[in-house]
Amino acid sequence: MNQVATGFRPWSTQVAMAILESKASTLILPNLQTIQKEFGFIPHEAIELVSKVCNVSRADVHGVVSYYTDLRETPAAKVCVKLCVAEACQANGVREFSVAAEQVLGIKLDQHNPGGVELEAVYCLGNCVLGPTALINDTLYGRLTTEQLKAIVETKLENK
């Protein structure tokens, strides 16, 4: 089953418009961040909406969406693992760890996966002494082992 992140509103143009109007920002990025926070991702319709609110072209809005790695055009998986793969974590073995993580989770780094878990490479979480480190649904874990990773992901998958 395609398990996606929970806790977000279903898309509604009217609701989105009302939320954007209440925020009263004419800057592209904050409006997109608001949309993503409420709906979990940035649907195609939102691009047109933000372009109207900001009085810019849809291309300008799309340019911002495609630029920032945080902004996504499809719903997030139920469990998002953001694994730090930068230098300080490399020093603590994250090159090997990420291969092992792919194996225990049965998914590939940075590839779309409908199974409810995604594994994303990020560059630095500011936990550079206690690597390998990952943000899993906004909770930071340090000195992570693959066994721990597997257990955390399984628990979060079972939670409603």
Binding site: C54, D70, A88, Q90, V122, C124, N127, V129
Partner: protein, 520 residues
């Protein structure tokens, strides 16, 4: 009887290894035994290998225990650690602990010591004294004092902060801004995060001083989205500061107006570059701007803007409070004051070491790092983040200040020191530098956008033994083009780790040392 104060960090590094669970367990076990305790969630002392570090307040000072796991809590309580202050995990009086005792903590003075959001705690430890002093000075006197202190930008570029402030001060405009660069994306650095989580009022105070000095009424703190805890803490601290009149229409009942807002990034490394950050603050793609015009003259929304790193701004309060002479009595040459070093990577004792500029890398490694976590020998140390050079053992005598590092082909950057043991493959590290640049380049200038991808390819060819000599000279040529032709430090400094790896670790590229040396 008053309750015993127990300090358990709420720093995200500490939480990442279980501080929250330890706090819950201590509360639970203490309640079961009817022990009267008060838990205070402080920042981290910066001794990250000891996290979670639990401290108990005694009449002689705070006694530490760490690293504490949930399973240790019962034995701590059974051995009456609250009163006896002994346990196998005990480290004695924290302030006397050798790692901490000899540090010169000016910027990090309160981090880990106080309850981060408690305004009484903040003021008890000299908080607000700098701002109060600033309110008695003219804007010109403030910028002069900061210039005289020798404070330079802690983000990496090392530009004199007072001169930047003065440029904004003398530029006439209807609106000016202060921006704190908290987009701490360099791997191996976490001082901005720890300061924002452990002592957020210091940043607010520093930004307010800057605002008074230059005539700004609005400030922004641009924090990367990877730091959710720092974002929360800063937002709450700003709210509290407003409630108590530290921010708002009349700062501490003066005629100055200043307010602050947190702006959250969206996962782009290059937004730590000041002009890309301005674009991002304006809600656009984080594309680097050409300079000039300088942001000090034409910055956010075209207005004069001070952009400083968190640590630069957080140094202002102590400079105002204690004076320029005091601050510049630390440091050497043109690197004055203290640097917050962050020892990270494969390290036995990693964390925050704040010391005057001028300590050598060797001293830092021998006195603080004490080797690698894996207990294998150190092979390389990268100083200054992903755009900084790799240093071999022969160069560990390098002095850690802006100029000395430059002379040795490196840079201080944001003060990150990352240790690698002998299992590291420096060919792969050089390749990663190019790969990282390809992923994070904003794409505006060609040397960075295309050069980084070509860099990965040509390093792969060298590592695969394809036309080694020709590909090596291609790589060197590419590095020169990127260094000289890139708009900002992203493309301009990516060759630094690559060339230092080639020069000092030719073996890992399958090259003769002489061959690599000719070209670097």
């Amino acid at each position: 009887m008053t309750s015993i104060k127990v300090f358990i960090p709420q720093d995200s590094a500490s939480k990442s290894v279980g501080a929250d669970q330890v706090a819950i367990e201590i509360l639970k076990v203490a309640a079961a035994k009817n022990l009267d305790i008060e838990i205070i969630r402080n920042g981290s002392r910066g001794m990250l290998w000891l996290e979670p570090l639990v401290e108990v307040e005694t009449k002689n000072g705070r006694v530490g225990f760490g690293p504490v796991s949930v399973s240790d809590v019962q034995s701590l309580i059974d051995q009456d650690f609250l009163n006896q202050q002994t346990h196998p995990l005990g480290i004695g009086l924290v302030d006397e602990y050798p790692w901490l005792k000899d540090q010169q903590r000016l910027t990090f003075k309160r981090v880990g010591v106080i309850d981060p959001l408690n305004i009484d705690d903040y003021q008890k430890f000299d908080g607000l004294l700098g701002l109060k002093k600033a309110l008695k000075l003219t804007p010109e006197e403030i910028t002069k004092l900061v210039t005289e202190s020798g404070l330079r930008g802690r983000g990496g570029a090392g530009f004199p902060a007072g001169i930047k402030w003065n440029t904004v001060r003398v530029t006439a405009a209807d609106q000016k801004y202060i921006c704190a660069n908290a987009d701490e994306g360099d791997s191996g650095t976490f001082a901005d995060r720890m300061l924002m989580e452990g002592d957020p009022f210091t940043l607010i105070e520093g930004m307010t001083i800057a605002a008074i000095a230059v005539g700004a009424t609005q400030g922004f703190i641009y924090i990367r989205s990877e730091y959710p805890d720092a974002i929360d803490k800063m937002q709450t601290a700003i709210k509290i500061a407003r409630e108590f009149g530290w921010l708002g229409e009349s700062v501490l009942s003066s005629s100055y107006q200043f307010d602050l807002e947190v702006v959250v990034g969206a996962g782009s490394y290059v937004c730590g570059e000041e002009t890309a950050m301005l674009e991002s603050l304006e809600g656009k793609r984080g594309m680097v701007r050409a300079k000039p015009p300088l942001p000090a003259v034409n910055g956010l929304f075209g207005k004069p803007t001070v952009i400083n790193n968190v640590l630069t701004l957080a140094s202002a309060p102590i400079i105002l409070n204690k004076g320029a002479e005091f601050y510049k009595s630390y440091g050497i040459g043109r690197s004055l004051g203290t640097q917050v070093f962050q020892i990270a990577g494969n390290v036995k004792q990693g964390g925050i070491v704040e010391l005057a500029f001028g300590i050598t890398l060797e001293e830092l490694l021998n006195k603080y790092a004490l080797g690698t976590h894996s207990a294998r020998p150190i092979k390389a140390v990268q100083i200054g983040g992903p755009l900084g050079a790799y240093f071999p053992n022969e160069l560990f005598d390098v002095q850690l200040d802006y100029e000395s590092l430059l002379q040795k082909g490196g840079m201080l950057g944001h003060g990150g020191i990352v240790l690698f043991d002998d299992s590291v493959d420096m060919g792969q590290q050089a390749r990663f530098a190019m790969e990282f640049c390809a992923v994070e380049s904003c794409g505006k200038c060609t040397p960075c956008r295309i050069g980084s991808t070509r860099g990965v390819e040509v390093i792969d060819k060298i590592l695969n033994n394809e036309n080694k000599k020709e590909n090596l000279s291609l790589l060197i040529d590419l590095c020169e083009t990127m260094t000289d032709g890139s708009l900002c430090a992203m493309g301009g400094l990516t060759p630094l780790p690559v060339r230092s790896a080639l020069k000092h670790f030719a073996d890992d590229f399958g090259l003769e040392k002489e061959m690599a040396n000719v070209t670097t």
